[in-house]
């Protein structure tokens, strides 16, 4: 194949009647190219904005200072919250505590103190043992809460004058004798009133006795006297 033949072949191919590719194809390709170009522009704009922001950020010392301080504050708060979590962790883990135990802890404000599980258990045991005595002593009071005041007075067995005045102190011997006489009289009246069912009269009589004999150190009300007497009887 000579050079001339090659040129002839090229000429033939160049003048080939092959029609150009369709307009539809052109539109598709150009459309895709434009979409791609707009994407590239958008991306470039976004990148430029970010770069500009970073540049401004780095050039502005005040903004940098605020940013650093905010970062430090955030770190400090993070550390503190972490420490607080660790600080409260033993309390959260003390799952052995019963309802009573947790109530005792709250009463003692022990939730604010970091204590181990063993300490919690010991504290709850100690609290339980110390509560044992008052619970027995207050047992009648729990029962009396179910009764009305009048029922207590109706069943009342009043103490004697000597018993009432046992703890009282008098400056003179004659005073004790006078007080004993008036108390005896008053107790007789009160007993009569109670027997008759006149409980209010009994209370008034007791109030008068108390006002007349301040040195006798009597309980504040007849009901209180009745409760005290009942407790003494139950202890016996």
């Amino acid at each position: 194949m000579t050079e001339q033949q090659f040129e002839d072949l090229k000429l033939l191919l160049d003048r080939s009647p092959t029609p150009p590719n369709s307009e539809q194809l052109d539109k598709q390709i150009i459309g895709a190219a434009r979409r791609r170009a707009s994407d590239v522009k958008l991306r470039a704009k976004t990148n430029n904005r970010v770069v500009e922001l970073l540049r401004q950020f780095s050039s502005n010392n005040a903004v940098a200072t605020v940013a650093v301080s905010l970062t430090v504050t955030f770190v400090v708060f993070s550390v503190m919250s972490q420490m607080a979590f660790l600080y409260q962790a033993p309390d959260q883990n003390s799952v052995v505590g019963t309802k009573d135990t947790s109530q005792d802890q709250r009463r003692d404000n022990s939730a604010d103190i970091a204590i181990s599980i063993e300490q919690t258990q010991q504290a709850s045991k100690a609290a339980a043992s110390s509560d044992a005595i008052p619970r027995i002593a207050q047992a009648p009071m729990v029962n009396t809460s179910r009764l009305s005041k009048n029922e207590i007075l109706a069943d009342l067995v009043l103490p004697t004058a000597e018993t009432l005045l046992q703890g009282a102190e008098f400056s003179k011997d004659g005073e004790r004798a006078l007080a004993s006489a008036s108390v005896t009289t008053a107790l007789t009246d009160i007993n009569n009133y109670i027997r008759q069912g006149k409980l209010e009269n009994a209370r008034d009589r007791y109030d008068r006795l108390r006002r007349s004999c301040m040195a006798c150190s009597l309980p504040s009300t007849l009901d209180a006297l009745a409760l005290g007497s009942r407790t003494q009887q139950s202890r016996i």
Partner: protein, 182 residues
């Protein structure tokens, strides 16, 4: 930027402009090379529809891979290498053919017979062209398009020596056919 300025720019400069988001640069590039690329594919495919499909795929690949284009490489080399890959895929599925090329040459010869030199005996050339392997036809077509050996080697992903030998075999076959005729 105005369209006429783009038309004065090189392919590589246009591609760089398109990478920066200038759609007119691509339009200029497309208009500059669309016909050559279409002809290259159309001469090696069974019909026009397939050629258009391969042309579409090639240009879309160009659009999508703008970031991978390196300005060091010649733009046409890059585009034709993409087209070559599409063509090879097509050949694997449907088989290669030289018939479209021969038919085009025949049609054109009928129109412009008087302008050609007497040295070429086209009828015999057509017959011989049909016998050539597709790789040799492709290499010949790329050479006619003006690519150098190195560029053809780059497009077809072959060694430069292989390209030379393919062209030599093609020339010898065609010459032999004409010598026999003479």
């Amino acid at each position: 930027m105005r369209r006429w300025i783009y038309q004065t720019m090189s392919d590589e400069a246009l591609m760089a402009a398109y990478c920066r988001g200038q759609p007119l640069a691509f339009e200029c590039l497309y208009n500059r090379h669309k016909q050559k690329l279409f002809n290259f594919l159309n001469r090696q495919c069974h019909n026009r529809a397939i050629s258009e499909e391969l042309t579409h795929d090639t240009w879309i690949a160009v659009i999508q891979n703008t970031s991978s284009y390196q300005a060091k490489a010649k733009f046409t080399t890059w585009v034709f290498s993409i087209a070559h890959n599409r063509l090879v895929d097509y050949w694997r599925k449907h088989g290669a053919t030289n018939r479209p090329l021969v038919e085009q040459l025949k049609e054109q010869h009928a129109v412009t017979e008087d302008r050609l030199s007497e040295s070429i005996e086209l009828e015999e050339l057509m017959a011989k062209l049909q016998m050539l392997p597709t790789e040799q036809i492709e290499t010949l077509l790329l050479k006619i398009e003006g690519f150098t050996y190195m560029e053809i080697a780059s497009i077809t992903k072959a060694k430069q020596e292989t390209v030379k030998s393919r062209l030599r075999y093609a020339n010898n076959s065609l010459r032999l056919s004409m010598e026999v005729k003479v």
